[in-house]
């Protein structure tokens, strides 16, 4: 089990306290923890489970079901490549191959400098102008190799 610092434990308890009166608060709590700590430490699961009167397995089930949640620190920037049907039809697999080669990593991995975490996503809702990628909160459409490089430089400060 991963280590959890006293400061992290305190932040988690504050988040749980802030959502105490809210119905269906598990997802908001998990989002808040990840927003504050950058990830959800597995060592925090028993605390979360106790607050919701659920088992650790149930909490783990929720965290692992949603790919947006991560249980270890991520890269500074999250790069998502859309591989849903419309984007695949418009060439997202080529962008995927280019991204993996360009960053030297596979999905769910971080680039060597820790700047970029590569993820796959299934639909960003911008189907008419795919292939699409997203860097943090920046959506980029009609991506080819040149736009990919430009977006990476602009939003993740990774130069070619």
């Amino acid at each position: 089990m991963s280590h959890i610092t006293d400061a992290q434990q305190q932040q988690i308890e504050q988040i749980l306290q802030a959502h105490r009166q809210q119905r269906g608060a598990l997802l908001p709590v998990l989002h808040a923890i990840q927003a504050q700590l950058d990830y959800i430490p597995p060592a925090a699961i028993p605390t979360i489970a106790a607050a919701f009167q659920q088992t650790a397995a149930e909490i783990h089930g929720v965290i692992s079901f949603y790919h947006q949640f991560r249980t270890e620190p991520g890269g500074q920037h999250r790069l998502q490549i859309c591989c849903a049907e419309a984007c695949q039809a418009r060439g997202s697999r080529h962008i995927e191959a280019y991204a993996k080669q360009r960053l030297g990593i596979d999905y769910h991995q971080q680039s060597a400098d820790g700047k970029v975490q590569l993820e796959v996503v299934y639909c960003l809702g911008n189907c008419a102008t795919g292939p699409n990628i997203r860097i943090d909160d920046h959506l980029v459409g009609r991506v080819d190799h040149a736009t990919f490089d430009r977006a990476l430089a602009q939003f993740a400060e990774v130069e070619a």
């Binding site: 809702g125 911008n126 008419a128 102008t129 699409n132 959506l139 980029v140 459409g141 009609r142």
Partner: protein, 103 residues
């Protein structure tokens, strides 16, 4: 008098560089002595033409798309701010685009 140019601000147009165009166009136009008033509107839904810029003229709005940052110089050179329809990206009067006309 400044020329009014509509640059969509919806997610799709922004994902295709509309924000950069909206910031760069007044600067480039100013350098040529032309004042531009940018209005951020919603998309007309013709996503294959986004970013779809519309220039207001006395005869109606003239549409240009899909415009990228790299096209701005040639658009200015073609006098698109006065509604010139010579540039290859010109789609004519917005109201006359067949997809919109049929609706």
């Amino acid at each position: 008098m400044s020329i009014r140019v509509y640059v969509p601000s919806d997610s799709t147009a922004v994902s295709l560089g509309a924000n950069k165009i909206a910031s760069a166009l007044p600067v480039k136009a100013n350098a040529q002595g032309q004042a531009v008033d940018i209005v951020r509107n919603g998309s007309r839904g013709l996503f294959w033409l986004e970013p779809l810029l519309e220039v207001e003229t006395p005869q109606g709005r003239v549409a240009y798309g899909p415009v990228t940052l790299a096209d701005l110089d040639s658009l200015l050179k073609a006098d698109f701010l006065n509604g010139s329809q010579e540039h290859p990206l010109c789609q004519g009067f917005t109201e006359s685009i067949p997809y919109l006309q049929k609706q």
